[in-house]
Symmetry: C2
Subunit: 159 residues, 2 copies
């Protein structure tokens, strides 16, 4: 239940690789492909979307590649997934176009809405920088920043 598409998964992993080169070194698709084990052709589609969304920019020609368009602490996981999978909308009734006629009498509508907001809030608090550092914060609803409890996750080893 609630499966994330591979585009979303690969996208975040690709952004992680690009973030590692920031701000000095453009990272090529080929490098990302080798490090994250995703085909070049598929990555092209993914990175294209992310570029059009302004999350990364590209440098063509030899020595080129992709670099972040802004620093890693200003790019949330939510912003990446939003571009690749569209906004969080657990039901079609919740989509911007929506147009469900049952909406006012629907028992579950507010429940799905609340859950979606919960997910979105979580993903918004986590940036590429957090991902690189392995620092996640457990979101505590309306909890203030000083009330957040940092959870240190195991550092990642690189292949």
């Amino acid at each position: 239940m609630l499966r994330l598409s591979t585009k979303g998964q690969y996208g975040v992993r690709a952004m992680y690789e690009i973030a590692r080169g920031y701000p000095a070194t453009p990272v090529t698709i080929k490098e990302i492909s080798e490090r994250q084990d995703v085909s070049v052709a598929y990555l092209e589609q993914i990175l294209n979307k992310l570029r059009k969304a302004g999350l990364i920019k590209s440098i063509r020609g030899p020595g080129g590649g992709y670099i972040l368009n802004r620093s890693a602490d200003k790019i949330s996981i939510a912003s990446i997934l939003n571009e690749l999978e569209g906004p969080v909308a657990l039901t079609s009734c919740l989509e911007p176009e929506g147009g469900c006629v049952r909406i006012d009498s629907c028992v579950t509508h507010l429940l799905w809405k609340a859950l979606g907001e919960q997910v979105e809030a979580f993903l918004k608090t986590i940036t590429l920088k957090n991902l690189m550092a392995g620092d996640f914060y457990a979101l505590g609803g309306t909890a203030k920043k000083e009330m957040r409890r940092p959870v240190r996750l195991k550092p990642q080893s690189q292949p």
Copy 2:
């Protein structure tokens, strides 16, 4: 992104209808079908799963129908969705069988795991009883039910 299947959605709405008859009145598939606007044949599949999972029981023959197997405050939304859509697993790597070889070196694995646990925790705190009463807290949203004083559930467990 993160779409819930119709089976899951209809399942919760069907359980809501069955809960309304608890404990005295069995609710027939036909009634659920009419009230929630879902075909009888499709509901049969859904209710069958929920019955096998022990969430509801059925009474055959005329005057029969479905009733809850335990009280509404002991049936969480999570338990319903788990039966109809399987456990929350945002990636295939997170599934019980799983078997991803990259798991130890994967940058994002713990992120998806954390998000999945967040969702599961949220859905576990909300029961059918909460759903019937409209008593759940919409994070960052507008709880636009009656003027009843909203009871704040704790979507997140802070260890």
